[in-house]
Amino acid sequence: MYPIIKADYLQRTRSYSFLITLAVTIFMAYSFIPDQNANYTTLSASGYKGVYNSAWVGYVSGIMTTVMLTYFGFLLVNSGIKKDIDTEVGLIIATTPISNFKYLLSKQLSNYLVLLTIAGITFCVSIMVFFYRGTGYPFILGNFIFPYLFFAVPALFVVAALAVTAEVFLGKRSILQFIIYFALCGICMGFINSKEGAETAGVFDPFGLSLLTKSVTQHINTHFNEHLTKVSFGFIFSDHKSDKPFIWEGLDWSALFIGSRLLWIAFGFALVYFSSLFFHRFDFKQAAGTKKKIKELFSTAALKPMIKPIGINRTSLPALNFNYGIYPFVKTEFLLLIRQGNQWMWLLNAGLWVAICFVPLQIAYSYLLPILLFLQVTRWSELATKEKSNRVHYFAYAAYKPLQRMLPAQVIAGVILAIGLSLPVIIRCALAGSGDVVFNIINGLTFIVLSAVALGILTGGKKLFEVFFFLLTYAVLNKVPVTDYLGSLPHQRMELLMLNILGINVALAIISLMTRRYQARHL
């Protein structure tokens, strides 16, 4: 199985999008340990903050890597089988003696290797950050290794297995995969501050993080006579400069906890095995689907002449009329956006859209709209990548003035869809007399569409935008001010934020145009 895993791993990591992911990872790993004067923290314990000794830096980095990578790592790796379907390599694999279990296990392990590569980089960055932020505490390697070993390594194994399971059972329904997965993650995050006993802390939590939260709260409660019951993870923005410092020396690892990590790894194996029992092995049902449709197909086939090959009489073709406008492009691009993915998603979209009409405006604007927009992630991520992925780029690039006509049409179609989805909020804001808010929303929507186009053109794939949009939505829902692309949070200088986004939009448009211009002549 080693050559399969190796080939799969190399195939995934030899891409621009992976390089960009690594660059983002380094930045994020650096931001896990904020400067003492920063206006955010990543582990918040109501008015207290740990001093930057080995234990604090190592553990915070370890748990942040576990949490963040659990969330966006799934998006990053959940297309291993899909790639084999798209490239039709799956058909070759299906004819080889490899068992379903071995094939899926190789996919799971290569998913795992990709995630471990990223975790390995954050591990190295955390050590560098420790020395960079240096507060004179001694460097203890174990405080860096153990949190990664006991938190990240088992949790990512389960993530890699869940990615395979999701692909087997939900196939192309990627949005449904995301919804179910993030719901599961939400449930697991609920364990972090659970009230279970100290002996069993973290055992039933795949992240294992409640062990750490218990230790930190107990430490503060004992030394400062407090009654804290929970700590929070994530990028938490508020003034933390006046927090009281405390020295925390790390965890004592119990055999029970370590054993539970092994059980979670075994659970990952079990998931893969269970999935292998239902794996399609690239043998898909015919498109006809229902018996009724099959019957219809057979009846039409019977009516058709068996052989009536190509025979075009050119003299009967009507005269040509030329129309170099972009309207027909916009129409088709919009049609493709609407038809992308499963049609049932429109039921969910419609439900959210109606809800946005009636819930309080601030909830609609700050929560429901970003969620509704994120649900379209797979539509927008295909905007500028579908030519290549469907091998239509030969036609597209050889078309008349593709840059001046096709690329703008793609952006316009994307923005029209975004505005259509945001219409209830836009109308409600307009009726409330907030013209500037309407501008902010349209500016933000354009930012999303242009990000999808630019990242798609730059990387040639959809993943980077999907991960970026996920992280952005996550940050928006957690009210991180700098990520407020729709302008739903109060800002001291809202106009500055919007001008920044407008500037980014212009830059994204220029990057897209220049890169596509190069690509169109260098096939």
Binding site: A287, T300, I310, P328, A398, K401
Partner: protein
């Protein structure tokens, strides 16, 4: 209308030269492009189709440099790439409408034009079905229809007969003959018999270079007197291959009818000289060049 290619080269990197110093003058009619895999045929076609910029050299259409002015040829270009795809969620009609928009076509006649083209490639009954459900041959016919949408004056077909059944291939050849009356058609195929029955002129490429470019009969003439057939015992075939370049074999009872090239040395005993075909000439030129 004429297409003039002068000293054209495409170098991907220091080691990889796809097309090397190629010059070719193409008039109305069908130019068949032959060559082994990796000879540079598809790269040459991509450069003419303006989706790949040459490293050096010029391509002129009616005296206009299409490397500098790609939109000049794009208005009159029909291009069927070797490994093209489709949007699986669109039906045939919608897909052709989309390609028509790319080509800048519109107006009231477009719908009728698409209808007639779909009828011509026998896809009318399936026109409302998503193309994702089509067979390989049906997709190839959609590819042919899109190439003809704008009544092109320059047609580039890269392996156009892949996936077509024998009768469809025959009809396709008739279509090409019709189009060749007022268009430049450049057609590459691994099936030499397709080229033989369609092409007025043939260009053979190897390792990025043009070996020969001439009317078909002149190329075949180069193989005249060098092609022989002989009946061999099964056991003698391998030894025979050490001495002669075998083109083809056919089982006949306990013997093997062997077609081979004999250039420098004398033909084998009991051999009969046969009329050369384009395939014989192609193999002779690519093996001995």
């Amino acid at each position: 209308m004429a297409l003039s290619i002068t000293n054209l080269s495409k170098q991907y990197n220091v080691q990889k030269t796809a097309v090397s110093n190629l010059s070719l003058h193409i008039n109305k009619g069908v130019l068949g492009l032959l060559g082994p895999n990796g000879a540079g045929k598809s790269t040459l076609m991509k450069m003419i189709a303006t989706i790949s910029i040459p490293s050096s050299g010029t391509i002129l259409l009616e005296g206009i440099d299409i490397v500098q002015n790609p939109n000049f040829i794009r208005k009159v270009l029909g291009y069927l790439p070797q490994d093209f795809g489709v949007y699986p969620n669109l039906n045939a009609y919608e897909f052709l409408e989309y390609i028509a928009a790319m080509k800048g076509l519109g107006g009231t006649g477009l719908r009728q034009r698409i209808d007639l083209l779909l009828e011509g490639v026998n896809l009318t009954a399936d026109a409302k079905r998503p193309i994702g459900t089509y067979s390989g041959g049906m997709k190839q016919r959609i590819g042919i229809a899109q190439a003809l949408l704008n009544d092109p004056k320059v047609l580039i077909f890269d392996e156009p007969t892949v996936g077509l059944d024998p009768e469809e291939r025959m009809r396709f050849r008739q279509l090409i003959a019709d189009l060749a009356q007022d268009s430049i058609i450049i057609l590459s195929s691994h099936i030499v018999s397709d080229i033989e029955s369609i092409a007025d002129e043939v260009a053979i490429m190897q390792e990025g270079k043009l070996i020969t470019h001439a009317p078909q009969y002149e190329i075949i003439k180069q193989a005249e007197g060098k092609i022989f057939e002989v009946l061999l015992d099964n056991n003698d075939l391998n030894a025979f291959k050490h001495h002669y370049k075998v083109i083809d074999t056919a089982r006949q009872a306990d013997k093997v009818k062997t077609r081979y090239i004999s250039t420098a040395q004398a033909a084998a005993p009991l051999s009969a000289q046969v009329t050369a075909t384009l395939e014989d000439a192609y193999l002779l030129l690519t093996q001995t060049h």
